[in-house]
Amino acid sequence: MSSLEILDLKTHFPTPDGIVRAVDTITLSIRARETFGLVGETGCGKTVLGLTIMRLLPPTATVEGKVMCAGRNLLEVNEAEMRKVRGEEIAMILQNPTTSLNPVMRVGAQIAEAIQLHQGLNKRDAKEKAIEMLDAVKIPSPSGRANEYPHEFSGGMKQRVMIAMGLACDPSLIIADEPTKGLDVTIKAQIIELIKKVTEKKAMLLITHDLGVARELCDRIALMYAGELVEYATLREIFEDPLHPYTRGFLGSLPDRGLVPIPGMTPSLIDLPEGCRFHPRCEYATDVCRQKHPEMIEVEGGHFVRCFHARS
């Protein structure tokens, strides 16, 4: 059973310079209790995909396709229902907890607010639940810390608070966008352990540029390049048998895999190359890659790749 199904999703932004194709015909499904990693580099559109699912995009964006969740298309439900979906069914853990928390509101009250809003608890019960949540994310002396302000928390502790907020209403799906960005290595390891534990029984879409983090947490991984998915498969297949040249290049450029860079740079989402979007940087590119845009094909059970030469 899938917890979220995305079908031919397109998110475009019309600008004076042209259309920004941030998300271009993406299809994927996230199974219940699975952690699905969406991996890509800066500007590939991965964050926009998360915001599209939550319907948190600026009004200039045009969205096509379907986002199916619990039998209905989230792109078609009304705003009132969408507000219920956010937090209760799907929660988002954002990067940069420092700006995501209200600096003049006590931490406990911020968590309680979400609980009150969705579960209709009274103030005292909501506060109690908030303290419970802080305890669940391993914040020491939670009842005392609930009365503190965000600036009294360190970066790692703030991220724990964000996770507590995300989990507060017991959503079935969590979208985590770079949840460990900017954290020190030892703190990052702590947060990853925590995420692993609290999302054990939940579905999660992990958006990240860090394959290391993805490897720690994910069951399946999709690689995104220039607005579209180029490969997706299980964790093991991506690491041991990557098929798309971009996936191989991405892995090869990691410091512990030899630091072999991919030549050139990511194209602008306004000015995408003809044919395969990766061909200007691809060493295997042939005429067909320059002329035709490859479709996603299933190479083996569940291993999809967008490349003409994947089988050869």
């Binding site: 600008t15 042209g18 000015d271």
Partner: protein, 290 residues
């Protein structure tokens, strides 16, 4: 690489964005029109603005074609006086803002870049000035210097430069921490070079915004001082002075106060609109979606 050619310079981008901002565009249009009126005042005026004709006293506007906007208590043509008055208001504004900018930016850069004692001295002075009601201060200074436009301008410069110094210092303080300034230092460049090549070009934007809104304030303050009798002396056709002279005839000839009052308001609003628009346009945080 197509998109790079479209905006090959920041300036062109800014000009294009002024067109997009409706309020900035409206303000700019009014200012340009008033400037043109001021420049061509001798050609546009139907009469000599200082010509006294006691036989034509207090003619209402739109009644005689010789005086489209009527005459004042000495029979002088109101339209001509308004046109010439635009010259004075704009000249006062430009002079005061220009001198204040030079003084304020220089002291602000020194204060922000070097810090220490010079910073304390300059900034305490600025704080002291800004803590007093500015129009009151201007009246005191202008009073000490005697009547006349020159003393009004000196008084206004004495107050106006402080806001430029403050804005400049703030921008310099944040720029000083930027890596490119540190890297210029580590390159062995002199302080004067760094200030001229790296600091100044990067503070122009906020200073332009302050200067535009400053224009509105200076024009209003100059008119107010003239209204109080400090600035332009009769028979100079200054809007504030006209307002003052018309005050006596408020019941019988209200247009003598309404017209110059409206002119002042129009110019002040125009500069405020442009300043607000520029603030949005030049805001570095405003990122063009790419």
């Amino acid at each position: 690489m197509k998109r790079h050619d479209k905006h090959n310079s920041r300036v062109m981008g800014a000009v294009a964005r002024v067109r997009e901002s409706r309020s900035a565009m409206l303000g700019l249009t009014i200012i340009v029109l008033l400037v043109l009126m001021a420049i061509f005042a001798p050609h546009l005026s139907p009469n000599d603005p200082t010509d006294v004709r006691l036989g034509d006293r207090l003619i209402s506007p739109f009644t005689e074609s010789k005086y489209p906007l009527g005459t004042d208590h000495l029979g002088r043509c109101v339209l001509s006086r308004l046109l010439y008055g635009a010259r004075i208001s704009l000249a006062v504004g430009i002079t005061v803002v220009g001198i204040s900018t030079v003084i304020g930016v220089t002291l602000g850069v020194v204060s922000g870049y070097y810090g220490g004692i010079s910073d304390s001295v300059i900034m305490r002075f600025v704080d002291a000035t800004l803590s007093l009601p500015s129009i009151f201060l201007a009246v005191v200074i202008a009073g000490m210097l005697g009547r006349g436009l020159a003393s009004v301008m000196i008084a206004l410069v004495a107050i106006e430069w402080t806001s430029y110094a403050r804005v400049t210092r703030g921008s310099v303080l944040s720029l000083k921490e930027k890596e490119f300034v540190e890297s210029a230092r580590s390159l062995g460049a002199r302080d004067s070079y760094i200030m001229a090549r790296h600091i100044l070009p990067n503070i122009i934007a906020p200073v332009i915004v302050v200067a535009t809104i400053g224009m509105a304030y200076v024009i209003l303050a100059a008119a107010a001082l003239s209204f109080l009798g400090f600035g332009a002396q009769p028979p100079t056709p200054e809007w504030g002075a006209m307002l003052n002279a018309g005050r006596v005839y408020m019941r019988t000839a209200p247009y003598l106060t309404i017209l110059p009052g409206f002119a002042i308001m129009l110019l002040v609003i125009a500069f405020n609109l442009l300043g607000d628009g520029l603030r949005d346009i030049l805001d570095p945080r405003r990122v063009v979606v790419e």
